[in-house]
Structures are given as structure tokens and as C-alpha cells.
């Protein structure tokens, strides 16, 4: 027994001289000190990693049976669903996985808003996160087009036409991207290349950078207290605990719960009542017939509602282009949060009423816009969407003011532990 232990220690030593594996493990796991007061909201980073692994695994397997051409794409999906052994399971894993991925990411982002994790010195952690988020949205869209169902086709058509909305150059760029004068095989092939290679590669690299940047500055926590300000004689933060084994073990519980919910969804609600997988996509692409009720997947609907809500021309530029600007702006503005927030404190626990109210309104408007986005265009009175869009943006535009003027509470010196700890 001890011989084997010696031997493996030797082997590890041999490798470590040539490749710093032990050092890396220490820096990022056993001697990475994370705040001891992490709560529920801190599960979603690791869950996002789990979701990413699920998508990559199931994606590679789908690729073994899928054919990216407009003649066979739809049939190859049917083939996966009906004829490939366990093919339905692999496909549902990928498709339900996308929904779970977004769910986890939205909660992960909300945590950052709640505890001011985007603030100094974590600006780059936040920006890398936003890059991942935008790449993820693109990834979801490209994937959605691949089955070449009727919703796939019209989603591709609408989104590519967005490019055409750019004044002057839009149309020629659109034709260039399409590689044709219409939506055809060439776009499907392109999207396939993006979906399976380009975007996943970007996501994996940026996730890596996201974590390196996080470990450089250290994690924030629900109190927004800087744990590095109080260290013991060895320079270890008093409120820090080694990530391994404390959080590695701790995180196993949410992973198991996540898996339970995930497989329950795969087995019992694989199409999410039409929100994960929409009925028109069970019909092959038909260029003469747009589905009667066209909506994107639920995770895009807040932005989609804003796009659709702009119906008036401004300054001689068409509403179509402004719709694009509002939609793009609603996503890009998140990037600037670290510089919009002027508050001396990070966590919502110590911010004032104004910040709390605005975050509440922001969350409400996002969800409400999301609901509007899945409903038909004339479901609510015409002024509802513009109003909610304004609420959404005021969270950002008013932030420099309400965060500098409001009265904040005193932040404790050390982190606090919730009841029961």
C-alpha cells in the first residue's frame, strides 16, 4: 500500500517539475481562500459549469447523428428522436440543458446585482461574465436554427434581417452574412460551424479567464466585506476558508439537487409546455408560412419585447433601426454597471431604499417584459412595453444619482453569518 503511495507521489513530483499541477491546485483550490459566508446565491457559478459540461457532452453526441443541410437537417432530428437508440434522451438533455443553463446564468447575474459583485475590483470578472452571456445568447440562437423547423427558419430570418436594419450598409452586410439573397443552405452551414466550434471555443476560453480574474481579486460575498482587509499572521484572511475541501464538498449538494430537477424536466416536461421547444418547430421550415404566433425561446423574450415595442420613427431614422438600438442597448448597458454604481457599499444589505427599490423595479420590468415577449404583439395596450422599457433603463441611467445620494448603512468589519451557522 505505502509503496503505491510513494510511487504516485514520485510520479506527481516528476510531473510537477515539468508542469506546475500542484501549484495550480493550491492556488485555485486548497489555498484559495473564499469568504466563509457564501449563501444560496453562490451556488450558481458552479452550476453554470455543470450546465456547460452537459451542453458540450450532449452536443458532441448530437453532432454524431445530425446533418447540417436544408434537405436533411429536419429528417436527421427526427432520426435522432425515433431511430437512434437513446437519441431522444441526448437531444432533450441538450435542449432542456439550454433552458437550465440560462436559468442558472440569470440567477448568477442577479447575485452580482444583489451583492455589488461587479464593483471595484471585480470589473473584469463582470465584463468577462457579460461576454460569456452575450456569447451564450448567440450560441442559443445558432443552435435553435439547426433543426430547420418552421420556427428555426423564421427566427433565422428575423434575426438576420436585424442586420439589414442598420442604415446604408445593412443590406449588403445581410447578403454577405447570408451568403445568398435568401435564407438558404449557406446560412445553415455557417450557423453549424458557429454553434459547434466558434462560439463554444470562445465560451470555454472566456470562462477560464473569468475564473482566473476572479481568483486574482478574490470572491465577493453577501456582506460585500473585503475579507483581505483582515488577515492572520500567515497572511490568510480571517474570514476565508480554503475552497477545497470546504466549498468543493459544500457544492455537491446543489449539484445533486440541480441534477434531480434537470432529469425530472427531461422525463416529464421535455418541451417545457411549449416554452423550451415550440410547437411550430415540429413542422419543417416553410418559406411561405410564418407560424401564426412567433416567439423566441423564453430566455430572449425581455429583449424581444423591447425590440417589438419601438414603433415610432425618431430623428428621421426608422423605428426598425431604433428597435435594434434599444434591444442591443438593453444588453450592452450591463457592461457599464461597474462605473454607473457610485455607492460606497457593495451589498444590497447595506445600500439604501433607493437602490433596493430600483433593483426591485428592474427585476419586475425584466420579468414583465419577458411575459409580454411570449404573448402576441397586441396582447397588452401599446404603451405597456415602452413604459416597462423605460423602467428597465432607468435602473441604469439613474444609478449614478441614487447610489451617490442615498443614505447607506454601516458595513461591519467582518462578515456576518446567517442564522443556523
Amino acid at each position: 500500500m505505502s509503496k503505491i503511495v510513494d510511487l504516485s507521489a514520485d510520479a506527481l513530483g516528476w510531473v510537477d517539475e515539468r508542469l506546475p499541477v500542484v501549484k495550480a491546485f493550491k492556488t485555485h483550490m486548497s489555498e484559495y481562500y473564499a469568504p466563509k459566508n457564501f449563501n444560496f446565491w453562490y451556488y450558481f457559478g458552479v452550476l453554470a459549469m455543470v450546465a456547460l459540461v452537459i451542453q458540450i457532452m450532449s452536443g458532441i453526441w448530437l453532432m454524431m447523428f445530425y446533418t447540417p443541410s436544408i434537405e436533411s437537417a429536419f429528417d436527421s432530428i427526427e432520426y435522432i428522436m425515433r431511430d437512434v437508440e437513446g437519441g431522444w434522451f441526448i437531444r432533450y438533455m441538450h435542449e432542456v440543458g439550454a433552458t437550465f443553463f440560462f436559468l442558472v446564468i440569470y440567477l448568477h447575474i442577479f447575485r452580482a446585482l444583489l451583492y455589488g459583485s461587479y464593483q471595484r475590483p471585480r470589473e473584469l470578472v463582470w465584463i468577462m461574465g457579460m461576454v460569456i452571456y452575450l456569447a451564450l445568447m448567440a450560441e442559443g440562437f445558432f443552435g435553435y436554427v439547426l433543426p430547420w423547423g418552421n420556427m428555426s427558419f423564421w427566427a433565422a430570418k428575423v434575426i438576420i434581417s436585424l442586420v439589414g436594419a442598420v442604415p446604408y450598409v445593412g443590406e449588403s452586410i445581410q447578403i454577405w452574412v447570408q451568403g445568398d439573397f435568401m435564407i438558404s443552405d449557406s446560412i445553415l452551414h455557417k450557423f453549424f460551424a458557429f454553434h459547434v466550434m466558434l462560439v463554444p471555443l470562445i465560451i470555454i476560453i472566456v470562462v477560464f479567464v473569468h475564473l482566473i480574474a476572479l481568483h486574482q481579486v478574490g470572491s465577493n460575498n453577501p456582506d460585500g466585506v473585503d475579507i483581505k482587509a483582515k488577515k492572520d499572521a500567515e497572511g490568510i484572511p480571517l474570514d476565508g476558508i480554503p475552497f477545497h475541501p470546504y466549498y468543493t464538498v459544500h457544492d455537491l449538494v446543489p449539484i445533486v439537487i440541480f441534477m434531480m430537477l434537470f432529469f425530472a424536466a427531461i422525463f416529464f416536461f421535455p418541451d417545457g409546455g411549449g416554452y423550451f421547444l415550440e410547437t411550430p418547430n415540429f413542422i419543417e421550415a416553410d418559406i411561405l408560412n410564418t407560424p401564426e404566433h412567433i416567439t423566441p425561446a423564453w430566455y430572449y423574450t425581455p429583449f424581444y419585447a423591447m425590440l417589438r415595442g419601438v414603433t415610432i420613427d425618431f430623428f428621421g431614422v426608422s423605428a426598425k433601426f431604433w428597435g435594434l438600438v434599444v434591444m442591443g442597448g438593453s444588453m450592452m448597458i450591463l457592461m457599464f454597471l461597474p462605473w454607473l454604481d457610485r455607492s460606497p457599499v457593495k451589498s444590497m444589505r447595506y445600500k439604501g431604499m433607493a437602490s433596493k427599490t430600483m433593483l426591485g423595479l428592474f427585476a419586475f420590468s425584466t420579468v414583465a417584459l419577458g411575459v409580454l415577449g411570449v404573448k402576441p404583439a397586441d396582447w397588452a395596450p401599446y404603451w405597456v412595453t415602452p413604459l416597462l422599457t423605460m423602467v428597465y433603463f432607468s435602473y441604469f441611467f439613474a444609478m449614478p444619482f441614487y447610489t451617490s445620494f442615498e443614505k447607506t448603512k454601516t458595513v461591519p468589519e467582518r462578515v456576518t453569518m446567517g442564522a443556523g451557522h
Binding site: W154, V177, R308
Partner: protein, 201 residues
């Protein structure tokens, strides 16, 4: 270099040469890089095959029924053809205050369709069935007298409305009238979409 122990140092003249050489190399490299990128960008343009597609189509008008939309396909786009009834024509010529561009000022049609009904013959509507917002295929709506109903096309994607001449309503996301493709008549009973009347002869 006589001391042997001393580290190699660049003279000032050498520094200058290094800067120049680095600059020139980088510049040439950048030009080479740009040239290298060209085929990647060019490969995205419509291929020769895609450019060759798109011959005109002919439609036998005998099979059309009044007020029933006929759909076909040209260059991968839906083409809408409608034989308009007298009531519809009268409606189209009536009140225009709800339209954004009633006189077809925007260049969305061949010259010969820049008229009241946006067509060669009043009774026959020929349009590309493409919403000018983001490209969905609008659906026909017939006014049965209910609230908010109208005669024309409704786009299910973001709610744009057009009348039976493809003219866009005010207050909808679509900015312009629907496009009228080039078309003409081979004879009274045969429509050709994809070329102008002159070319049919």
C-alpha cells in the same frame, strides 16, 4: 566586448535601426495579414451557384379566385398575388390617413407600380410576401366587423399591418410599404414575376 563579463548593449544608432526595422516589418506583416484575411471574408459572399438561381416564374391567372390570396415562391421569397374585388379597390382608394406612405414615395416598387393601387392593373395585386420590418410572411386579415379588425395583411411576428396594396400602416414596427417585385403580363391570362413588362415583350 573586451571585458568579456559585460552584457551586450545596443548603441543609440542600433536602437534607431531596431525601431525602424520593427516598424517596417510590422507594417508589411499587417498588409500580409489583411491579404490573408481576404479569402475568409470573400468566401461568405453569395456563391456562383446562388447568383445563378432566380429565373422568372409564370402564373396562370385562371386559377385565381377573387379575394383569395395565392402564394408562390420566387428567389426564395414568398410572392403574394391577389385578385382584388371592387369593394376592396374602393376601400383602397378611400381614406388614407392611417397609412405611412400612401403615395409610395419610398422606392419599394418599380416605377410602373408607383400609383394608387401599386399595380399594373387595378384588380391584380402582386407583392413580395415579406414584411419590411424583419422579413416574416404577413397573413391575410378580412374585416368581419369586430373590434380592431381590418382588411389587409397582419404580420404575426411583431404586429405590423399593411393594406391590400401592401401599404404600411402608421404606428407599427415596419418602416416601409411591402415590395412590389418586377412583373408583367405575357398575355391577359398569364403573369410573369421576376422581369419587367418590356423584357417580356
Amino acid at each position: 566586448m573586451s571585458g568579456g563579463e559585460k552584457r551586450f548593449e545596443l548603441s543609440e544608432a542600433d536602437q534607431g535601426r531596431r525601431t525602424l526595422l520593427t516598424g517596417v516589418t510590422a507594417l508589411l506583416g499587417a498588409i500580409g495579414g489583411a491579404a490573408w484575411l481576404t479569402p475568409f471574408l470573400k468566401s461568405w459572399k453569395p456563391s456562383a451557384k446562388a447568383r445563378a438561381a432566380g429565373a422568372p416564374i409564370t402564373i396562370d391567372l385562371a386559377k385565381l379566385k377573387v379575394d383569395q390570396l395565392f402564394k408562390t415562391e420566387w428567389r426564395g421569397k414568398p410572392i403574394y398575388i391577389l385578385k382584388r374585388s371592387q369593394e376592396i379597390i374602393a376601400d383602397l382608394k378611400g381614406d388614407k390617413s392611417h397609412l405611412r406612405d400612401p403615395d409610395s414615395v419610398e422606392d419599394q416598387q418599380p416605377e410602373y407600380a408607383q400609383n394608387d393601387l401599386r399595380s399594373l392593373k387595378p384588380e391584380l395585386m402582386v407583392l413580395e410576401g415579406v414584411c419590411t420590418h424583419l422579413g416574416c410572411a404577413p397573413k391575410t386579415r378580412m374585416d368581419d366587423g369586430g373590434e380592431g379588425e381590418f382588411d389587409g395583411f397582419f404580420c404575426p411576428c411583431h404586429g405590423s399591418k399593411f393594406d391590400f396594396a401592401g401599404r404600411v400602416y402608421k404606428g407599427v414596427p415596419a418602416p416601409t410599404n411591402m415590395v412590389v417585385p418586377p412583373y408583367g403580363y405575357k398575355n391577359d391570362g398569364t403573369l410573369v414575376v421576376g422581369v419587367d413588362q418590356e423584357e417580356i415583350g
